[in-house]
């Protein structure tokens, strides 16, 4: 089998072969069966992968070194530590301390520890002590810690009024 591969590392690691042996213990030639299922090593330009490493690829992080001008749309969570000039729409948005968003933040849950200049529209809103909110907050459930700055109206009208928000997850009973 090894004559067909350019891999000179010797026999396959035991882990790749073991399941095959369990599946077909009676067949004498387990080797070719195993090689048929084992995907050949794709050639790589670099020794170790950079992407798809240990970090989960689902969550999004806008670090403090990143500035985005434009729109962000996600069906999952976004953590913002940097700057965003534009609208953010996600299931859950966390605007960290020192972060700035100039635009509207839409979400099921929004936690604000940084600055938002614009609007927040979310079912559940948390304004922490370091929050700086300039603009209206449309919510259903809000919590405001002592020290938070708010300049704008709080409207408990999330989901009641017509808006251009398209809910990411359709709520039950509606």
């Amino acid at each position: 089998m090894s004559m067909f591969t350019r891999n000179d590392k010797g026999p396959d690691p035991a882990g790749t072969k073991a399941p095959e042996k369990k599946d077909a213990p009676l067949t004498g030639a387990t080797g070719p069966v195993a090689t048929a299922t084992v995907e050949p090593n794709r050639p790589r330009a670099m020794a170790q992968p950079l992407a798809g490493g240990t970090a989960p690829t689902g969550a999004s992080v806008i670090s403090r070194a990143l500035k985005i001008t434009g729109q962000l749309e996600s069906s999952e969570d976004i953590e913002i530590q940097g700057q965003v000039e534009g609208d953010v729409r996600a299931a859950s948005v966390r605007v960290g301390q020192g972060a700035k968003v100039h635009g509207t933040v839409y979400g099921e849950e929004v936690e604000l520890a940084g600055t938002v200049d614009g609007k927040i529209e979310a079912r559940k809103v948390v304004l922490t002590a370091s929050a700086h909110m300039s603009g209206d907050v449309v919510h259903q459930d809000i919590s405001i810690q002592s020290g938070a700055y708010i300049s704008g109206h709080l409207k408990p009208e999330y989901g009641k009024t017509e808006s251009n928000v398209q809910p990411l997850h359709k709520r039950e009973g509606e």
Partner: protein, 132 residues
């Protein structure tokens, strides 16, 4: 920014936290960072970064200016980078302006790969408006 880019990658970049566009995230606009950027989602627009890592399921449509670009996903547009690595899972349409480029066997590359001296990338403005 490029004054900082000229410094070693191990220097400033390590102090800056990496940013990540998750696979469910779609960004339309400009992304500007002096650190690393991982893209597993979709970006339509321009990317300025020290280092861009485009993951297997990531997709970028637009121009990329970076010092180092590592492509495992889909990219459509121009790349301006000193070092470019195109992995076997990559699919690239457009031009890759580079000083050194590595393309793995199996990669789809449709376009030209013009070589440029290192000085070209140092003097490159953040927003390359020239269409060489």
């Amino acid at each position: 920014m490029y004054a900082q880019l000229r410094s070693d990658l191990d220097g400033d970049a390590e102090n800056l936290p990496a940013s990540q566009v998750g696979k469910a995230l779609r960004v339309t606009g400009t992304l500007d960072t002096e650190g690393e950027l991982y893209v597993h989602g979709t970006v339509t627009g321009r990317i300025n970064a020290l280092r861009l890592i485009l993951g297997t399921h990531g997709s970028v449509e637009g121009d990329v200016v970076a010092r180092e670009v590592h492509i495992e996903g889909r990219l459509s547009g121009r790349v301006f980078a000193l070092n470019v690595i195109v992995e076997s899972t990559a699919s690239v349409t457009g031009r890759i302006f580079h000083n050194t480029v590595t393309v793995a066997k199996g990669a789809h590359v449709d376009g030209r790969m013009p070589w440029r001296p290192p000085s070209y990338f140092e003097t490159l403005t953040q927003l390359p408006e020239t269409r060489p």
